[in-house]
């Protein structure tokens, strides 16, 4: 993608590329799940990765976050190569994520779940915890404050002391987002955040994602099958199929790409069904 094609975000300070991926490949046994994919994510943008089931999207995320080791390729976050880092190191470097299959800490309440997300940013260590030093108290307060802030941010403030597993599905997804945000990421990767949400809840989610970018200044990259969400939210879309990138571009470009229509969207999808939304509520108006 050329710099010229990149949408102007109107935020001068926030220009440039935050994540740059080159030739990322993952081979499972004989199966090439992700094949030589390049991707650049502009700072403070909302971008999406879409593609048919089994296209390799989740695997792509897993490689970025260090859960899988790429078979080849590089991942650069603000110039630092992330390949080979452990997941916790990737998080410390500034990438947080949510999971396609929700993975919350079952025995913790919402607040604690989010506090865990703060782990890598807290200064207090083992000795501080034992001796209850000033640094410890500061850290704990920070963790708690950030957790509450994030819970409020995603709208779960009232469930602060509720066990995570007792929350309804959609709220659990939001809780995962709050937990990811608590790591103070530069970039957050959301894997199908709208799955299991009804259209109304998806609308709320949409504005939440915009606020993540606008209010927190965090770059968002998401995987989604909900085309209304993707088309209205993303500034840039990459399409994978059978592990390879088959298209990329602005939403309307992708939507009208015949390859994408055939492999992914299905008949008649492009014409307008998803399009009308975008014209109505494009460009972060809800923020």
């Amino acid at each position: 993608m050329t710099a010229a094609a990149r949408p102007n975000l109107g935020k001068p300070a926030a220009s440039g590329t935050i994540l740059s991926i080159k030739g990322l490949t993952k081979i499972f046994g004989g199966l090439t799940a992700v094949n030589n994919v390049d991707l650049e994510i502009p700072r403070q943008s909302i971008v999406s990765v879409i593609g048919p089931n089994g296209a390799g999207k989740t695997t792509f995320f897993n490689m970025i976050t260090g859960i899988y080791e790429p078979s080849s390729g590089t991942v650069n976050l603000d110039g630092d190569n992330l390949v080979g880092l452990r997941p916790d190191q990737v998080t410390a470097a500034g990438i947080a994520r949510t999971f396609q299959n929700i993975r919350l800490f079952a025995s913790m309440d919402s607040q604690e779940n989010v506090m865990v997300g703060r782990h890598s940013r807290l200064k207090a260590g083992y000795i501080d915890s034992l001796l209850r030093t000033k640094r410890f108290h500061e850290s704990e307060k920070e963790a708690e404050d950030v957790a509450n802030l994030m819970l409020d941010f995603v709208g779960l403030g009232r469930f602060r002391h509720e066990l995570a597993t007792n929350l309804p599905y959609g709220d659990q997804r939001k809780l995962e987002i709050a937990r990811a945000l608590a790591t103070s990421p530069k970039l957050v990767l959301l894997d199908e955040p709208a799955a299991g949400m009804n259209p109304r809840e998806t609308e709320e989610l949409k504005s939440l994602i915009r606020r993540i970018r606008d209010d927190l200044g965090v770059t968002v990259c998401l995987i989604e099958h909900d085309m209304r969400l993707v088309m209205t939210l993303s500034e840039y879309i990459t399409v994978l199929d059978y592990g390879s990138k088959i298209a990329e571009g602005l939403p309307h470009e992708v939507r009208n790409n015949p390859k994408v229509m055939e492999a992914y969207l299905g008949r008649g999808a492009a014409a307008g069904e998803y399009g009308k939304e975008e014209t109505v509520k494009g460009g972060g108006a809800n923020a």
């Binding site: 079952a106 025995s107 602060r160």
Partner: protein, 544 residues
């Protein structure tokens, strides 16, 4: 959203039981003191005296007395009453009874030791969810650390090296140091090299770790040799006042062994970890049995010294303790202090970022890692912390027994500590202490007394209660677990998870096999520490 349960339950109003608590405490204390004091017993009508002297009755009285501490902790009562009962029981009545009957003190110390062990294992198993079946090894490390130096054994070691190859000391020491530095450096580089562990890196890591261990051993050996060259034997070990230093050294030693054992194996999951720790626990014991030069092998080490504090002894003397009781009396208070510190440390760690990280990796390693929790490091901290509690108590154990041999550190002991933790309530500090107390009292007071009480009856040997300890203990274990699967005093977390505070009409209790059984969420959400971090939900490969 009304179905969502409120975050906190309104406190159930229970009657204040301060008065009951105090009355019970007074009764049980009186009973205890009377039953232990022969002078008082003599004044009682002989039937009553004989009754109180019956081993089983005496043991029950003691148990009843100790139960007061539990009541003081559990009951709703005013703080001063709780403190009064707790304080007097621990600091006055118990030592007093111990003066008349040292086995009370012995039991109390033993409970303290096991409570500390349980607290340590609780961190590893209950909080971090790592099933460790070889935990007693760290206890052994602590015990031998002091045992060797606090007895004539160190003299023997030095003499051995003096007689053999003492003049190689400098060479060995320098060699060890060099190896140590080289391997430590290479370990660091290996760790720095980014990238998941390839087999080559694995080998390199293993070799370097091995080198590190050998380096440490050589260095230590070299130092011993150097010392030995000039030593003239230490028939009674080093000055017993080094005891204090060795409390610290034992922590360090046990923690290091914890890290050493942990490094190669903590990547393993669930039961793989369990069996490896079991094996490594045995390795430590067998080494103790085989490395006779240092440990005196199967013969064991004895006598082992213990610190003595002059003013404390005179205090003990002043309140009627005989000199042979000083050490127990002294160790009792040392144990109290250590336990207090350990509890404090435990609570502080539990309620800190580390504690949260432990629980996070217990619940979901992948998610925890993705949230920035370094897996191996966090597990190592759990291992080392747990180990250090065992290490320090090992020193106390050696000083109390005056004798240690590999037989005290067998696998069964590890299992026993584990049962204390689970019985008391995984992850619950008061729970595991209670678990330790219950199991210890059963094992060294109640069950044996059953045999002693019936010793004079003519019962066929096959069904003689004295021989049925396993049966009785086993039945108690099974029964307690069936009736209180969440443990005696479950942790708040556990209670929340198991809906312990449910209304009685709840049809999803574990006993209700059909409803409970077929309830996926029950199966899925109950956290499964230890054996495998993977719960049913993950196996399903789907959302929770």
């Amino acid at each position: 959203m009304t179905a969502i349960r409120p975050g906190s339950q309104p406190p159930i109003s229970a009657p204040d039981r301060s008065l009951a608590l105090i009355i019970l405490a007074v009764i049980s204390s009186a009973l205890l003191l009377v039953s232990q004091e022969s002078a008082w017993l003599a004044r009682l009508p002989s039937a009553l005296a004989n009754f109180l002297k019956n081993p089983l009755v005496a043991s029950l009285v003691l148990t009843f007395f100790l139960a007061n501490l539990l009541f003081a902790y559990r009951w709703k009562a005013s703080l001063w009453a709780k403190l009064l009962v707790g304080g007097l029981s621990l600091f006055l009545i118990l030592p007093w009874a111990g003066r008349d009957n040292t086995s009370v003190l012995d039991l109390a110390i033993q409970i303290g030791i096991f409570a500390a062990l349980s607290l340590g294992l609780n961190i590893v198993v209950g909080l971090a969810g790592l099933l460790d079946l070889g935990y007693i090894a760290f206890f052994a490390v602590g015990a031998y650390t002091w045992g060797i130096f606090g007895s004539g054994q160190i003299g023997k070691v030095l003499t051995y090296f003096k007689d053999n190859s003492a003049n190689n000391g400098p060479v060995v020491a320098v060699g060890g140091l060099v190896l140590l530095i080289v391997t430590a450096l290479s370990l660091r580089t290996i760790n720095r090299v980014k990238g998941k562990r390839t087999p080559v890196a694995n080998w390199a890591f293993l070799l370097a770790a091995l080198g590190l261990v050998i380096g440490v051993i050589l260095l230590a050996r070299g130092v011993v040799m150097l010392v030995a060259a000039n030593a003239s034997g230490l028939p009674n070990g080093i000055n017993p006042n080094f005891f204090w230093l060795f409390l610290i050294l034992a922590i360090a030693a046990a923690a290091s062994v914890g890290v050493l054992i942990g490094l190669p194996v903590l990547k393993l999951k669930g039961d793989y970890l369990a069996i490896i720790t079991l094996g490594l626990g045995e390795v430590i014991r067998v080494l103790a049995n085989n490395l006779g030069t240092y440990t005196n092998g199967s013969q064991g080490i004895t006598p082992i010294g213990s610190a003595s504090v002059p003013w404390f002894n005179s205090l003990a003397g002043a309140i009627g303790f005989t000199p042979d009781q000083y050490n127990l009396f002294f160790l009792y208070f040392v144990v109290l202090i250590i336990i207090a510190v350990i509890i404090l440390a435990n609570m502080r760690l539990d309620r800190s970022k580390i504690g949260r990280a432990w629980i996070a990796i217990r619940e979901d390693e992948i998610a925890a890692q993705a949230m920035g929790v370094p897996l191996v490091q966090t597990k190592l901290i759990a291992f080392a912390t747990g180990a250090s509690f065992a290490g320090i108590m090992g020193v106390i154990f050696a000083a109390k027994q005056g004798f240690i041999s590999p037989e005290s550190f067998i696998l069964n002991q590890s299992i026993s500590v584990l049962s204390m933790v689970v019985l008391g309530g995984l992850g619950s500090i008061p729970g595991v202490i209670l678990g330790a107390a219950v199991v210890t009292i059963l094992n060294i007071s109640l069950l044996p007394s059953l045999g002693e009480a019936t010793a004079s009856l003519n019962i066929p040997p096959q069904v003689n209660p004295a021989q049925l300890q396993r049966l009785v203990f086993g039945s108690i274990l099974v029964a307690m677990m069936l009736f209180r699967p969440e443990g005696l005093l479950p942790s708040v977390r556990q209670r929340r998870m198991m809906h312990e505070d449910d209304n009685p009409s709840d049809n999803l209790t574990p006993q209700d096999s059909i409803a409970g059984e077929l309830n996926p969420e029950n199966a899925a959400e109950v956290y499964s520490p230890g054996i495998a971090t993977r719960a049913d939900d993950e196996r399903g490969g789907g959302t929770q």
